[in-house]
């Protein structure tokens, strides 16, 4: 399986061996993985990273069984790069492409009640709450202090993800994050959605041959436009 995520400043790719039975998310070791953190260059970075990961694992596109992509939430432009790349790559090969909420790429390997927060720009965060790796609230977009309140209401103690470093004050009284078992997580590894985790989450559908749901991006915001006023007079 080829999995990728572009919902954060990280542009991440992983090649994962599809097991006979679905493993727990944290237990999947990628055959090869690539990650570059550069919020503005996903469009240039992603395909070369895919090519390099395939080459490292000595896998050709024709060997793949399926494609998995993080559907966001994330900044629109980079998010679309990932989704259209995954969808088109899969279509060219006649493979299915499975979408997973990108925040699950962090939250699914946490334990206890944990919140995941990523940067939504405009002084807001994308967030979701997890109970032993299961998403129990979100994804949603809110101002950091409001997100912190909602997470607390969900009984969340620890918060992980790039939003934590951006808004330390809002999430200050959240206890230190417990990163989960598995891929050698710890705070640094949980910083960005892990495509290997997304692959593991999609594996049951892929193994069962279930048709994937449509790849609907999780934007959480409407396009920023106003209807024009009637043409204004050019003369006084």
């Amino acid at each position: 399986m080829l999995a990728l995520d572009t919902s954060t400043p990280a542009c991440s790719v992983a090649l994962v061996q599809l097991p006979d039975t679905a493993p727990p998310p944290g237990a999947t070791r990628p055959l090869a993985s690539r990650r570059i953190v550069d919020a503005r260059r996903h469009g240039e970075l992603l395909s070369p990273l895919m090519r390099d990961a395939l080459a490292e694992a000595a896998v050709t596109p024709a060997d793949l069984a399926g494609v998995v992509v993080g559907l966001g939430p994330g900044p629109f432009t980079s998010l679309r790069v990932g989704i259209v790349t995954a969808a088109t790559f899969a279509a060219a090969l006649g493979l299915t492409c499975h979408g997973v909420c990108s925040l699950d790429g962090i939250g699914a390997v946490t334990s206890g009640r944990t919140g995941v927060v990523t940067d939504a720009r405009r002084r807001e965060v994308f967030w979701a709450a997890y109970a032993d790796g299961e998403r129990i609230a979100g994804p949603a977009v809110d101002r950091p202090d409001r997100a912190a309140d909602l997470l607390r209401a969900d009984g969340v103690g620890g918060v992980v993800g790039p939003g934590l470093a951006l808004y330390p004050d809002a999430f200050a009284n959240a206890a230190a994050a417990h990163a989960g078992t598995g891929t050698g997580t710890g705070a640094a590894a949980a910083q960005y959605p892990d495509p290997a985790v997304l692959a593991a989450l999609a594996a049951p559908d892929l193994l069962a041959g279930r048709a994937p749901a449509p790849l609907t991006p999780i934007y959480l915001r409407r396009p920023d436009v106003a209807e024009p006023r009637p043409a204004k007079a050019v003369t006084g």
Binding site: E44, S47, M50, F76, V84, T85, T88, F89, L93
Partner: protein
């Protein structure tokens, strides 16, 4: 047969044949620079499919293209539009020998969707990728209808985003030379703005074209930069003049003769466009003029250009209207020319550039 990899180079042959033997290469073209998701398939100068999805209706209420809405629509339409093109051509993805894509100029977020899709397709199939200049593609599409373009030719490109006069020598290999361009609004943009002040729907070109048929060009609107000796255009003063004229009528409580205003505005636009295009051909000793872009669908532009080219001894080439507006066929057409002339493919880190120079 060894196929060139996306990052490798195609061994160039000056004979204009494909790098492989057998049938000529099948080239997929993807266009997403504005509000149309276009996918074309071309083999050997023949158009096999030209699938299009447009978000124009979603923009109509805003009076212009909204970049974020366009980009969202491209993402939704991409795979279905590619599939439709393949089905029309009776081809499979694995039949494709090269992928071409508009790399710019255009709306950044919209371009990025097409460029990412094209790279993914090229990488999946192990075929070369070609980044294409949108304006050069508008010219190249004419070769699908009228065969190879004589070198040199003059091209007049008039659309919602561009108004340019170009000197074209070798479309595939040599850079196109810009002789002039609008200094403010594009011609199509002027149509859209004038239509709005006359209460017509977006896009404004077709309703003005229709209304003008019932009117006469009796109002002497200004011809911006007409006699300035450059090949540049200006349409913003014209738009303001139309607005002032219409407002004066309304303020005086008189009815606005919409058909005459439309015909007079249109005549002012088309007069300058065709006069400068013919002058450019004369100055450069060129005997072929190609017109492309959405405004090339305009009936008066076609008629006046035909008239003026005829008396100047210039051969006029205008693709059918469906190929004048943005489409994938034009990208596939230029991609196929590049493959045939052995031009090196683009790297997989090809950027999308909203301001890509010629």
């Amino acid at each position: 047969m060894t196929r060139p990899t996306p990052t490798g180079t195609v061994s160039g042959t000056s004979s204009g044949t494909s790098p492989s033997r057998g049938p000529a290469p099948l080239v997929l073209g993807i266009e997403t620079s504005c509000d149309e998701t276009g996918v074309g398939l071309v083999r050997d100068g023949v158009l096999l499919a030209d699938a299009l999805a447009s978000s124009v209706d979603e923009h109509a209420r805003y009076g212009g293209v909204v970049p974020e809405i366009a980009a969202r629509a491209h993402l939704e339409a991409m795979v279905p539009t590619i599939d439709r093109a393949l089905a029309t051509a009776g081809a499979k993805a694995s039949d494709i020998d090269a992928v071409a894509v508009t790399a710019g100029p255009g709306l950044a977020g919209a371009l990025l969707v097409g460029v990412a899709a094209a790279k993914a397709y090229a990488l999946a199939l192990g075929v070369p990728l070609y980044g294409i200049h949108h304006l050069a593609a508008h010219v190249a599409v004419d070769t699908l209808e009228h065969g190879p373009l004589p070198s040199p030719s003059i091209a007049l490109l008039v659309s919602g985003g561009h108004s340019s006069l170009l000197l074209v020598e070798d479309l595939a290999a040599a850079p196109v030379v810009s002789l002039g361009a609008t200094v403010d609004d594009a011609a199509g943009e002027a149509y859209d703005k004038v239509a709005r002040l006359l209460g017509m729907p977006f896009p404004g070109g077709p309703p003005i074209d229709r209304a003008a048929r019932d009117g006469a060009p009796t109002i002497p609107f200004p011809r911006g930069k007409a006699g300035d000796g450059t090949f540049d255009f200006s349409f913003s003063g014209l738009k303001t003049a139309v607005a002032r004229w219409v407002e004066a009528r309304r303020r005086a409580g008189e009815p606005v003769p919409v058909a005459d205003v439309a015909a007079s505005f249109q005549e002012a636009v088309v007069d300058v466009l065709t006069a400068k295009a013919v002058a450019a051909a004369r100055k450069h000793g060129v005997d072929t003029l190609v017109i492309g872009g959405g405004v090339a669908a305009n009936s008066r532009l076609r008629a006046l250009a035909a008239e003026r080219c005829e008396s100047a001894g210039i051969t006029l080439r205008v693709p059918r209207p469906g190929l004048c507006t943005d489409n994938g066929a034009m990208v596939a057409a230029l991609g196929a020319l590049k493959v045939a002339s052995g031009v090196a493919p683009s790297p997989l880190d090809l950027p999308a550039s909203s301001t890509l120079p010629l």
